[in-house]
């Protein structure tokens, strides 16, 4: 409705931020932010998501660069591993009590 007042501005794109909280751990999704480019996205992420010592390393990824699995197909997409309990150690009960196994 008031597009005329802000349409000439190109909004800064959205970035997803991943933070490694300490060495040895994976980067974990912390949240998102807006930034004009990757350089500033990293700095904004540093200022926003690590101001309480939350991290030792940051990744930023353009939100639009992320592909995700189709939520509508979640039933079938993730069905296969269901019921294949032989992939898990707990399936093998006869060896229970045997040391170092």
């Amino acid at each position: 409705m008031t597009t005329e007042s802000h349409s000439k501005e190109t909004p800064w794109p959205l970035w997803e931020v991943f933070v490694r909280s300490s060495r040895g751990l994976s980067h974990v999704h912390a949240g998102s932010l807006h930034a004009p480019d990757a350089t500033m996205a990293l700095r904004n992420a540093r200022d926003l998501y690590t101001r309480r010592n939350e991290g030792v390393s940051i990744w930023v990824v353009p939100a639009e660069a992320i592909s995700s699995s189709d939520p509508d197909s979640k039933g079938s997409f993730f069905e296969s591993p269901q019921g294949k309990d032989y992939r898990h150690a707990t399936y093998y009960t006869k060896s229970e009590g045997v040391r170092h196994l």
């Binding site: 409705m1 007042s5 909004p11 800064w12 480019d37 500033m40 509508d72």
Partner: protein
């Protein structure tokens, strides 16, 4: 708050689409029944999306506008330690606004648009920030009462059914744990200070108490949307329930402060096992919400000005990024 991408589904659907809607609704209902979480790309009822978008964006706006009454005292904080604490707190609020705008963006609304709606007066924010912070003690009362009430509201929201909202609230609640404490300490220090300081503290508590209680929203029998929000697991407790719990906590804490609550009717009802408080002026609440508060136009003007003054900076950074991308492309 109308917006193109929020139009409800056309009335006439193909059989295939109808089937997808039905399956989506069934899936959504099951997730809610299991008290699990809805994620951004899940099918969700249009009304659920709309309700969330309204609530989360209002919450974000409240954080951003809520920076102003406190930012007002950063330059005058009476000790350097307090100045640092206050700066960190107001800065946190910008961060919390950001987390919440991000959560709202997953519902399909750009932050740009939300900000424009706020500036154009189309969006709401917590009406309490339309009251002025006139003394230093207000920094204490805002932290203790306003943030205290906000935390009561927000802790259950960590379990809101919409994943991104809940996650934003987890982060916010963790960070806010210091906000209420610093406010309490400001008041405690004033209360144990000179008579003038103690009076300043009591005045601030007197002014912020009722507006803080009203932050929980209208009484349950006058809060038509609450029921649906609770059914959707967005809200976990009713307005009155949260307000009552909050009063109970304040009653104890105010004793430690050596101050009093400006409410002679506060009591614990042995029958209902709930805390009760005196009558609140809901007409004033509605007036302030409708723009008649002491600072409504000032707050909006300040936000508008910051946004418009920053336009050339945002444009410059975007233009620079575009030029750099072009260079890289050419190289």
């Amino acid at each position: 708050m109308a917006s193109q991408n929020l139009q409800s589904v056309p009335a006439e659907l193909s059989p295939e689409e109808q089937e997808r809607e039905r399956a989506g609704q069934a899936y959504f209902d099951r997730i809610i029944a299991e008290d699990s979480r809805i994620e951004p790309r899940d099918w969700m009822p249009e009304a659920y999306r709309r309700t969330l978008l309204r609530q989360v964006s209002q919450h974000a706006h409240s954080e951003i506008i809520g920076m102003q009454p406190e930012a007002n005292w950063i330059t005058r904080a009476p000790s350097l330690k307090r100045k640092a604490i206050l700066m960190a707190k107001v800065q946190d609020e910008a961060g919390h606004g950001l987390y919440l705008y991000s959560a709202a963006e997953t519902l399909g609304q750009s932050r740009d648009k939300m900000m424009q709606d706020l500036i154009d007066g189309k969006a709401r924010y917590s009406s309490i920030f339309n009251y002025p912070a006139v003394t230093w003690a207000d920094m204490g009362a805002i932290g203790w009462l306003v943030d205290g009430a906000a935390i009561c509201n927000q802790v259950p929201l960590c379990r809101a059914s919409y994943g991104p909202y809940g996650r934003a609230m987890v982060r916010i609640c963790k960070e806010e744990s210091f906000h209420q404490r610093q406010g309490f300490e400001i008041l405690l220090e004033l209360s144990n200070g000179t008579p003038a300081q103690k009076q300043m503290a009591q005045d601030a508590v007197n002014r912020w108490y009722a507006p803080a209680l009203m932050m929980f929203g209208p009484p349950d029998d006058d809060s038509p949307n609450s029921k649906q929000s609770m059914a959707w697991n967005i809200k976990r407790f009713s307005n009155d329930e949260l307000r009552s719990r909050f009063v109970g906590m304040m009653v104890e804490q105010v004793k430690v402060l050596g101050l009093t609550l400006p409410d002679e009717d506060v009591r614990f009802n042995e029958e209902t096992k709930k805390w009760e408080h005196g009558p609140l002026d809901w007409n004033e609440f509605k007036d302030v919400l409708a723009g008649k508060g002491p600072c409504n136009s000032q707050r909006m003007e300040r936000r508008r000005q910051a946004h418009e003054d920053g336009a050339w900076v945002r444009e410059a950074a975007a233009a620079y990024a575009a030029k750099q991308a072009q260079k890289e492309h050419a190289a």
